[in-house]
Each structure stands twice: as C-alpha cells, then as structure tokens.
C-alpha cells in the first residue's frame, strides 16, 4: 500500500508538469485549431533559460527562495517572448492556409528550436543547478515526498489557479473565450483578434517554461532534445481531457502522469512511452471528444 501511495505521489507530481504543458496546447488549439508542435521545445527553452538565469544570479552557490523565484520568472518571461515571436513570425502568415500547412510550419519551428538550441547550447546534456537543496519529508508509512515535489505541486497549482482567474474573471480572459468561440463575432464586438491570439501564445509559453524549470529541479539533466517526448505526451493529455477545454487539460495531465508512473512501477519501465498512446486510443474509442470535451455536432 505504501508503495502504491508513493507511486501515486510521483504520478500526481508528474501529472502536474504534463498539465502545465497541456494547458498551453489546449489554449492555442482552442483559439486557432492549431497543434503547436513547437510547444514541447518552448518547455525545453524554459529549462535552459532557467539554467542560464540561475548561473547568472549565482543561485547555486547561495540557494535561497528569492533567487529561485527570480529564476522561474526570468524563464517564464523569456519563453513568453519566444512564444510571441513564433506566433508573429511563423503562425500568423499561415493562419489562412490549410491545417496541414500550419502543422508543417509548427513542425518546422519545432525542428528549428531543437537544432538551433543544439547549436547555441551545445549537444551535451547540461546539469541544472540545485537552486533548492533537496530534502525528503516522511509522510509516515514509508511514504516520502521530497520538497522539490512539493514545490512542483505548489507552483503548478498556483499557476493553474492564476490562469483560471484570468480566463474567467478578467476582460482579457473573456476576450480569449470569445475568440475561441468565433473569430468574426469577437472581432465585431471590438476585440483585437490578433492581439488576443498573441496573448494566448504568451500565456501558454509561460506555463511551459514554468514546467521546464520545475522539471529541471527534480531531474537535473537538460538537453536540446528533451522537449520532444514530454511535449507529445502533454499533447496527448490535452486531447485526453478534451482539447480546447482548460480544466480538461489539467485532468488529462494528471491522468497521464499517474498512468505513466503506475505502468513503470507495476508493469515494465520499457513501456513508459507507449502507455501514453495506448491510453489515448482507448479513451478516444470510448469517448472521442475526450473526458471533459463536448461532442460538437457538425453543421452541414
């Protein structure tokens, strides 16, 4: 039982990370019907920006909460900017083209970020400094949780709450919801659709960056290709929860994280990557719109 609880904690923590990335996917999809393949690489950039911010601030030699927070914020800001640039330079011009062309553009951006990252950062894995020293906290019954895991949980939940508040209670959020319903109607209501799309990208990228820094805390090895698989799994998580649906992304992320950890712990570590997709296929066959998605009737 204690092993199960331990795995559950690990799973929820992993799930929060997937949720943060999935939120970005789902928001962009809700607004543009575009699968932003480059999103996983923004997560990677978040980890790298965090690395350089930490080095610049000297956060390793003097670990303290303030500099850790600063590292997180710098990474988020940097990736927000990157997201903005990507949207303006690459996605805006193909907005009117076919979905597949936009997909290819997204793939091109993804490849560019990965290989550009390899050129700039070097192909060798880097080690993210311990800006928060690790300690284990015993919860009783042989179950432990590390303070890093607690931080991941805490920060993710905080960010998700912030996002929810923005989306539900602010004008920007209302505009985002309007644009995701119908671009033309939103434009007629006086909303600058272009601006809202950019804002969505910025928010999504910032969340991915946070995920990158949080993951790097616990798993310190970072390298330019680290975003491919988590990005893919987070996207599957978003679809699992119902793509375009923000609570769905969170739910999908948690389900994905828990399922992955359970498979690794109880079945076999080598099937870790496949479980994401098996899960997806099962859910989509049973409930195609995703767990929280609404089946949209196709208008003829």
């Amino acid at each position: 039982m204690s092993e199960f609880l331990q795995q559950l904690i690990n799973g929820v923590t992993l799930g929060c990370v997937y949720a943060l990335i999935a939120l970005g996917y789902t928001m962009v999809y809700g607004i543009l019907r575009l699968i932003n393949f480059a999103h996983g690489d923004v997560y990677m950039l978040g980890a790298f920006f965090g690395l350089y911010a930490a080095r610049w601030l000297g956060a390793q030699t003097h670990p303290n909460p303030a500099s850790a927070l600063a590292v997180l914020l710098i990474a988020m800001a940097g990736c927000g900017l990157v997201g903005l640039i990507i949207e303006r330079a690459a996605y805006k011009p193909v907005r009117q083209s076919s979905r597949l062309a936009a997909l290819i553009t997204a793939i091109g951006v993804s490849l560019l970020l990965e290989n550009g990252g390899r050129l700039v950062f070097g192909a060798d894995p880097k080690f993210f400094p311990q800006i928060i020293p690790a300690t284990n906290i015993a919860l009783g019954g042989g179950v432990t949780i590390s303070n890093q895991q607690l931080i991941i949980l805490g920060v993710s939940i905080a960010l998700m709450i912030v996002l929810r508040v923005i989306v539900l209670y602010t004008r920007v959020g209302k505009a985002m919801r309007a644009v995701s319903h119908n671009h033309t109607a939103a434009a007629m209501m006086g909303i600058s659709v272009d601006r809202i799309i950019s804002v969505t990208f910025v928010f999504g990228s910032m969340l991915a960056a946070a995920a990158g820094v949080l993951v790097a805390l616990e798993n310190p090895k970072i390298e330019p290709y680290m975003g491919i698989l988590p990005g893919l799994k987070a996207f599957v998580a978003a679809v699992l929860g119902g793509i375009g649906n923000i609570p769905g992304a969170v739910l999908g992320g948690l389900v994905m994280g828990i399922a992955e950890v359970m498979v690794v712990g109880y079945v076999s570590p080598t099937y870790r990557d496949a479980i994401a997709f098996v899960l997806l296929i099962v859910i989509l066959l049973v409930r195609p719109a995703g767990i929280l998605g609404t089946a949209t009737a196709e208008k003829v």
Partner: protein
C-alpha cells in the same frame, strides 16, 4: 497489345538502368538515388491517405517499420534459404534473390496493410486532429513494441538482412505506387476519396460509403509504406527502431505537403527535393538541420499549397482526362 508492349518496354528500361547506373554513377550518388526512390514511394503512399482522402495521418513511419521488420524477418528465416536453394539448382542468383525479395516485400506490405486496417478502423469514429493523434500514437506504439521484442533485435537493431535491393526493384515499387495512384485518381473510387476529402458529410449524404473508402485509403497507403520499408531494410542490411521515429513520419508529411496535397507528381518532386537537399547541405554540417527547418517554414509561409497545388504534371502533347478536383476552400477535415 499496345499495353503489353508498353509494360515490357518499361521493364526493359528499368533493367537497363539497373545495370547501367552502377557503372556511370559513383556509389555515393547511386545511394542518394536509391534513397530518393524509397522516399518517393513513401510520399506517394502517404498522399493517398492525406492528399486524396483528406485524412490527417501522421504515423506513416509506423507502417514503414512494420513492412521493414516484417520483410526482414521473412527473408532472414525463410527467404535466404529459398534463394540459396534456388541458386543451388542453377537458377541465376539475381533471379533467385529477386524472387525472394519480391516475396519478402509482399509479405511486409501485407503486414503493413493489416496495420493500416487496424489504424483505419478508429478513423470511423474520429475526425481531423483526433485522428491525427491516434495515428501518431499508433506509430509510436509500433516503435515501442519493436524496441521491446527481442526476436527482432529490440533496441539494438536487426543486422544481417540480405542486401537484395537494386534499382530495378525500387523502380518497380515507384511505378506501382504512382500508376496506382494516378489510376485511382481518375476512377470512381478516386472520386469518392476526393468527395470525402472535400466534405465528408455531403459525401455520406450522397451515398458514398465513407467508412469503406477511408479504410481503403489507409490500407493502400500503408501497404506501399510497407513496401518502401522492405526495400529500405534490404538496402541497408540493418534495421534500427531509431529510423522509424515520428520525426520520420514528419519528414514524409513535409514531402507530401511541399509537393501539394493531392498531387502525385508534386509528391514525387518534393520527395526527390527533400532527399537531395540534406545531402546538398551536408557541407554546412551542423547548420544543416537549422537551414532545413528554416526552409520548411519559409516555404509554408510563402506557398502553403505546395509546389504543384493539386495539379498533376502533364505531358503537354497528350490528351489526358481532367485533373482531380482541387480541395474545397477551407481545407480538409
């Protein structure tokens, strides 16, 4: 009669090229040419699914893998011995090996076709992006499965595959898939596929059996991807799951989109360009992938309908039936 003569002439040309090319081209150029041919088969086969039928499939590398490993296993366990036996009774090695290769390719293609059927089934219930992810998922599942099956070498690869692929067979593969696609495009079945691409609901309302045709597209596309995989396996003589990641699927999609969705000649052209391009950029080495991705982005931004749109290359002096209709405005699914 004219048809038969034409077929024989084409075969003769292929045999001639097969013999002549190694003499005039240095092995490096020949290798690039062969890889171009395999890419062409992959691109045209994907075009059947993505271009003709408008189904968002991004797991094509999975079908290629099934065909590659399937045909390799057939050759390793059965084909090799048959070929040796046939050669033993005096049949020239070329023919014995060719026959064994043909059997292996068909077996690989059939297995891939079955995989295509299994992937096509969920397409009954799913549309657009959901289908895309499921196909991607299948591609990944296939790769992970292969990585875990010891009998095919698991994560360490499968060496020792008999190197039987020659330009002749690559040529046959290319011709088969191209001729089939063009014939299909100009037939009633092809029209059904285009109808599904343009507006699935309307097609259904008009009596087109969308289920049957979507599955058909998947099966045909995956069959030829399997053939390409088999040729690939018997050319490199070594298989590794890393050759079939979803990056490979993306490379094939890039070819189809660059060429123009729905255009067979576009797919052929783009496949050749996108195989030669990384080689031409080899001198820039570390910058190669960066330049490649920049080119993709710029091409998509400036001409998203691809090189050929959905038109086909036509011999100007021959009268041909009208080209397949362009996709309706607003794109596919």
């Amino acid at each position: 009669m004219a048809r038969l003569l034409r077929a024989v002439a084409v075969l003769a040309v292929l045999v001639g090229l097969d013999l002549a090319l190694p003499r005039f081209l240095n092995p490096y150029y020949l290798r690039v040419l062969m890889l171009c041919g395999i890419s062409v088969i992959l691109a045209v086969s994907l075009n059947l699914i993505n271009g003709f039928t408008g189904q968002f499939s991004i797991g094509h590398a999975g079908f290629m893998a099934v065909g590659a490993y399937g045909s390799a296993m057939v050759s390793l366990h059965v084909g090799q011995h048959w070929a040796a036996a046939l050669a033993g009774v005096g049949i020239p090695a070329v023919i014995a090996q060719g026959a064994a290769l043909l059997v292996a390719l068909l077996a690989g293609g059939a297995l891939a076709g079955i995989a295509g059927y299994l992937v096509g089934l969920p397409s009954l219930r799913l549309r657009g992006d959901y289908l895309a992810i499921v196909t991607l998922g299948f591609g990944e599942i296939i790769r992970v499965l292969i990585t875990n099956i010891e009998a095919v070498g698991a994560a360490r690869g499968l060496p020792g595959i008999p190197p039987w692929t020659t330009f002749f067979w690559v040529g046959i593969g290319m011709l088969a898939v191209i001729v089939l696609s063009l014939r299909l495009a100009n037939s009633t079945h092809g029209r059904a596929l285009f109808a599904i691409r343009d507006d699935e609901v309307a097609a259904e309302a008009l009596g087109v059996d969308t289920t049957r045709y979507k599955v058909l597209a998947f099966v045909l596309g995956s069959f030829f991807a399997g053939i390409a995989g088999g040729l690939f396996a018997h050319y490199n003589a070594y298989l590794h799951p890393n050759s079939f990641t979803f990056i490979k699927s993306i490379e094939v999609i890039a070819m189809v989109v660059l060429g123009g969705l729905g255009s067979v000649s576009g797919s052929v052209l783009a496949a050749i360009v996108l195989t030669i391009l990384p080689e031409a950029l080899r001198s820039a080495q570390e910058w190669r992938m960066v330049i490649y991705s920049l080119m993709l982005i710029i091409l998509m931004v400036t001409r998203p309908q691809g090189l050929m749109g959905s038109r086909e290359f036509r011999w100007p002096w021959r009268h041909r039936p009208a080209a397949p209709p362009a996709p309706a405005a607003g794109g596919g699914a």
